[in-house]
Symmetry: C4
Subunit: 459 residues, 4 copies
């Protein structure tokens, strides 16, 4: 038990670390490409940032290679290690070791750009890491996948737009700004670095959003070629954003749509059959309740998927307040109690719904988990008693083989666990001590029920 709590805490920490790594990876790629395309020479401040980030990454790799986890469940693999290992340690080191620093002192240029900056492009290997981290984050924070899918989309869009903007300016720069190149034509060269970047980004955004104002257009062969590439990449990106968005919205609505479609069919069936408004309103309220409280899943199918050992654990915990209150459970040995717990079927009752009617043959024992039920006369006028959570009825008729001498009506929505007569018989044949338990339990009834019995009400 403790162990799993530790893991949960751990995983929250890991999410923080993953987000930090993500920011660092995106940041270093941004700096490296921006400086190459628009500044052309390494600056002190950026160098400092880059090497700090490198150091952080190196420390993480070192920790990752040293830590070893026992890999038993799905969540226990060491996320740091696996993140790094998946891409191969060598590759990661190439993307992290400050090889470029060597050229800081040599200072050679290539096409007017410092070799330092060219070598720093190795950091773009971290692009793969970004997607690894995003996938890792999705796995560890399942509860909020929508936000993560949006975050991933924004990351992809940002990175692609930025890279396209860098290349769009790099092409004429490397060629030495021919007079018909776009920075010269639109007099961008004279502006500062900021303005240059702004105009590059502006053109790329104009293109990728398929807006295409046409105020900045290519005019030379190389520009046309890159424009075609940028248009195809940009429009594909736009198409991908729309497609991913459509899929995301659909997935958010999936269960809702399926549920309410179904409800609509049921309600229009009832309407077509001339069912009275008061009844169809009860049906509507039930579905409303089901959707708001159970996400549209019928309570009895909620736990049915769980394998028996886990369902037992959940049922024991669900009933942990009832177990000591209900004499039947209190007097049962563990094996019998488990058997009884697994046999309970949940029943949700609408306000005013009848769980039992006077004259009914015994059909099982009902344990009230939530809400209140009223023991009433057959005409529903006289209320003999109210039973709340932790109380139960139906054992007497089952033991004595008599008919019910009162009805039971729900006040508001209530949730009840029912031990059906078939399950009761099955368990009784395996555990004959059940009869003793029931007899013993019947002597420790709550005062409410005891009074009922005195009044001659048999349920």
């Amino acid at each position: 038990m403790d162990r799993s709590i530790v893991i949960t805490k751990d995983s929250r920490l890991l999410v923080g670390r993953d987000i930090l790594l993500l920011v660092l990876a995106v940041g270093s790629i941004w700096i490296v490409t921006f400086e190459l395309a628009f500044v052309h020479q390494p600056q002190l401040i950026t160098s400092a940032i880059i090497y700090t980030i490198d150091a952080i990454f190196l420390i993480h790799i070192w920790i990752g290679t040293r830590s070893s986890h026992r890999d038993q469940g799905a969540k226990r693999g060491g996320p740091i290690q696996s993140l790094y290992m998946r891409r191969g340690l060598g590759l990661l080191l190439v993307g992290t070791l400050p090889i470029d620093a060597l050229f800081l002192f040599i200072g050679a240029d290539l096409w007017g750009i410092s070799l330092v900056l060219w070598f720093r492009l190795f950091r773009m290997i971290r692009l793969g890491l970004i997607f690894d981290i995003l996938r890792q984050l999705e796995r560890s924070t399942r509860s909020n996948t929508a936000a993560l899918r949006i975050a991933r989309l924004i990351t992809v869009v940002t990175v692609v737009l930025h890279l396209l903007a860098c290349i769009w300016y790099l092409i004429p720069f490397i060629q030495g700004f021919p007079p018909d190149s776009w920075p010269v034509r639109y007099e961008v060269v004279t502006g500062g670095v900021g303005m240059t970047y702004l105009l590059s980004i502006y053109w790329v955004v104009t293109t990728a959003t398929t807006i295409g104002f046409g105020d900045i257009v290519p005019e030379r062969g190389e520009e046309y070629v890159f424009a075609v590439v940028a248009m195809l990449v940009g429009a594909s990106l736009f198409a991908y954003v729309i497609a991913a968005g459509a899929s995301l919205i659909s997935s958010l609505n999936l269960s809702k749509v399926a549920f309410w479609n179904r409800v609509n069919v049921v309600e229009s069936y009832l309407r077509s059959r001339g069912v009275r408004r008061s009844v169809s309103e009860q049906v509507h309220q039930f579905y409303e309740y089901l959707w708001t409280r159970r996400g549209g899943l019928y309570q009895d199918s909620l736990l049915i998927d769980l394998p028996a050992p886990l369902r037992l654990e959940v049922m024991s915990d669900l009933m942990r307040d009832l177990l000591p209150k209900v004499p039947i459970f209190r007097h049962s040995p563990p094996s019998l109690r488990n058997e009884l717990l697994l046999a309970l079927e949940p029943v949700t009752t609408q306000p005013g719904g009848y769980l039992a009617t006077e004259g009914d043959a015994a059909d099982g024992i009902y344990f009230i988990a939530h809400g209140t039920v009223e023991v009433v006369s057959s005409d529903g006028e006289t209320i003999y008693a109210r039973l709340g959570a932790g109380e139960y009825f139906g054992d007497l008729t089952l033991l004595l083989g008599e008919r019910r001498s009162a009805s039971v009506r729900s006040d508001g929505f209530s949730e009840v666990f029912r031990l059906g007569v078939d399950s009761f018989e099955r368990i009784k044949s395996d555990y004959p001590e059940l009869i003793d338990v029931l007899t013993q339990a019947s002597q420790e009834r709550s005062s409410t029920v005891a009074e009922l019995v005195l009044e001659g009400v048999v349920l």
Copy 2:
């Protein structure tokens, strides 16, 4: 019962109130931002409107904080109160109290715009309210979610486009219209307020729809920055509209597509197996019937999801015309009648389909709910009798343990409730009085059935 009707009426009233609040919230945001960006000084008429809306909102908040509801079901929470409470009373008051009115008499300006108008921007807090109201409306008018999702989409689009248009004009205005700003270049300043707003909206729509004519383009740093933002916001909005539309259309078609896909598979299976056209046509007609009348849900799974107390209520109402007509039900005590009702299984019969064949062993009692069935000889030629809604057959063979001496064929589609022989036996063992009920009932048969019996037809 009455209570729920009151709630229904109430909720229709509340929908009206919500729509009014929605219009007022959108209207006040529109006026406040429009006046700020394009008029710059408060006008008498707009002030009057704004303060009237404020007053209405204040009254509503006052009512909301005073009214208290019993919160029992999902729908009974007070919608006004919850709407306001969710955002916090303080925040709402900040967005509603006419703080700006103080400056009406002082008259100070900021960047050429009256401080009154700047302070009125607090009304934009109502943006949050708009989405609350839309969510509230969706919940209270479940039946027509498609229309509401479209309404929400249009609201979002309208608000975003308007806000972008305001900012697009505000930027050069605050800077005092530099000669290369877009209103000066395109000679918009000389036009009236209407023309200015029109051109701003025109540019924003051109951009957000990703059309991008390019007749109005940014030319200064600030304009480029805002254009990039507007393009990203606008294109995202366009992508969102497409995505939401795709999800909406898919959700409308979801059950239809799933149903007919399935039908196609069944029909192509029958075709591949060489089933005769007349039979496969019957199958097709059945599915057509199922889709048109039941929205594709098989009748027997329509009510199966409802918990027993609610299903009993629905079945009682569905059969309320039959209950007094059918002697079996009339003579049963309530407990037995409930047991019988819950045990009924619906059967839909295609035109010409046989519900029973001469020589069949007793397999249950059939109650006709809709349509007509014909009692015919084994060759189907002689029609002994026609039974309509409210009549039943199958009890004699069950009581006497004999074989059926005639067949029963459906004329047109008919819907029948069947009490299977197994359920019959089970109920009989719990309620031995069932035999008496049946015997008693057999003496009160309808004249049609009585005649049949006289003719020696045993069903």
Copy 3:
């Protein structure tokens, strides 16, 4: 039976008629609006066409109001009548009666356009009819909904683009072509009607596809207003086309994706459990077979949805070749045969799969519907016999209570109907004559099986 065939034929005729009405409705709307916007005066030829179409519509309305159908099933309502009635007869007559013809002789103009043409706009009421017809067509040709959804999309797009083009030119025309209006600026007025229409359509398409070249742009207030409207309408249309397309493609892939997703999970489970390749290949082939032949629906769930009377009809037809061949069915009275047919469960066997093993206790009778099975020794080496469609095995062990003395293996995929031992016992208790039938049938076995029995093989 005959009746339903008639209806089918009928419905094919009706589809033809609907398509004709659709073409006429679209055509008349196109002519009426085109002539108004671009020709301005009525031409002889178009008048002739319009009045001919009117006449056809009037005749149809007359037929529709006179014909009366018996409305029993979903498909039997008279489609012509309902088409016209839904929109109201009066409204349709307004859209069809040639009121405009009166003005042909008077010849008055409004804003330079003949009043005849203005009055002809009443034909646009047929727009509603177009959607009615498309909905009607979708209902009557369920089998090919994809094509119809595309047809509807194209109709909507065409109509909207055309109408926008008409209005885009009408605005400056009605104003008498101010010098800064777009037809004057772009020198469109001098071109012929065709060129004018072409340029209008060109601008509208440029806008609605969100391409927005920007070579033709608005420049006057009215043009800006209309451009904003056209952009919003056009972009919404484009968004709708994408959204509808996405929904359409998804719906076509829906069952395929769900099926193969599931198969992938099963196969990767088998792989992870180290199941041998030859076994997992068998599983894959089975699913391949299921998808190709059954559209991914497991055979036993194909007919389970059908209500008993219809399932009986289908099963009788599916087995109509076997029924006279199989002695068990031949000797059964109809009631027993029906009972047996409804109790059969289909089993699909993969190539080399064993339906029975030597030493098996009797578990039912197997009727071979398709494919061939081999009766083999327990080691699978010796083949005693081959049984094909129409033969059966398993009755002897059931009758004698003995163990099987040989195995049965499928050669290729085969489909078998199984009468389980439980169903057999249940039917036997209701129909004791089953034993006589089986005994009688065992004397008429096919020569293959008779030989087997002589060899001492008991199945």
Copy 4:
């Protein structure tokens, strides 16, 4: 068995061949159209390539018409043959026979373009082949449909863009470059073939991505007409790409979304019921395990779809390591073993979950397939033994009718197959020898279990 492996190998070969055919078909269409539109006269090198491709196709057709396959399963039809046959041999020959070669020596021109090139357009019949191949590839490589759908999309887009570019340039070329045609206006004619093609493609991409820079626009009637067509085609293509992408992404997420939606509902139900964090964490871990290891399919529904003969094959293979280890299976005759295998139900147990509790009545025999379970005292403190894969428990209590005298707890996740007491009784009544088998087996227990028995632990 062998046969299916051969087919698998074969199909991998066929995939290679299909990809080659695809490349050749796309390549020849590209060359043929490019040369026609931009080069106008046949070049030696392209002729050589074209005729080589023709030869390869002819050889394939020849092989295809000669090879004959036995068509038994879905995958055994000859793919080459069917590919060619579907389109009709004649049509394919028209598209493949080098009819154009005749004109190589005649050298006549049509509209300034060699007749050779016009006749080569017959190769465009291969467009149909491309889609056949893509469909074929999808069928033979089911495992990776996403990649194939993307490949198909890219092929369609590439082909359409290329063809549009060719026509966009062909129109003015055939008209002899009028002075206001676009190549003259934008001085494209003077550039080389490459530049011409680049600008054509640039315009088409600008249009089809709906970017529409507007730097190259139509100005003559024919150009406007083609531009309208190109815009509609291009925008439809763009819409199709988005729609197909949305459908693709949705389909990839389909099962994931459905699974986690469901898990969220269960977990929020548990939270709303106040279930303790340690229990809900166990539930979460179970679902995590289910998703990672089983793709979200509950193990017991994984194999349930398979028909009995196939399920038996799979179960035998799944248990092939256990079968010889477990004495029960080792001593069972084949029929009994099959019956036992088919009756096993899989149970997944969470870490720390209890499979059995001290005092339990016998409820079945548990075979451990994966993981380890601990036999512990009722308080869970004392560990009597550990049982691993291949061991089993529960037979003693079943045989002796006693209660369990120890509990069994899972260490980590374990997978267990359970033979329920009901199945046990059913099989025992059909195969009385089961008792002998169990008795015999109990004498060959593993030393661990034997020791347990000596210690008096009865399970």
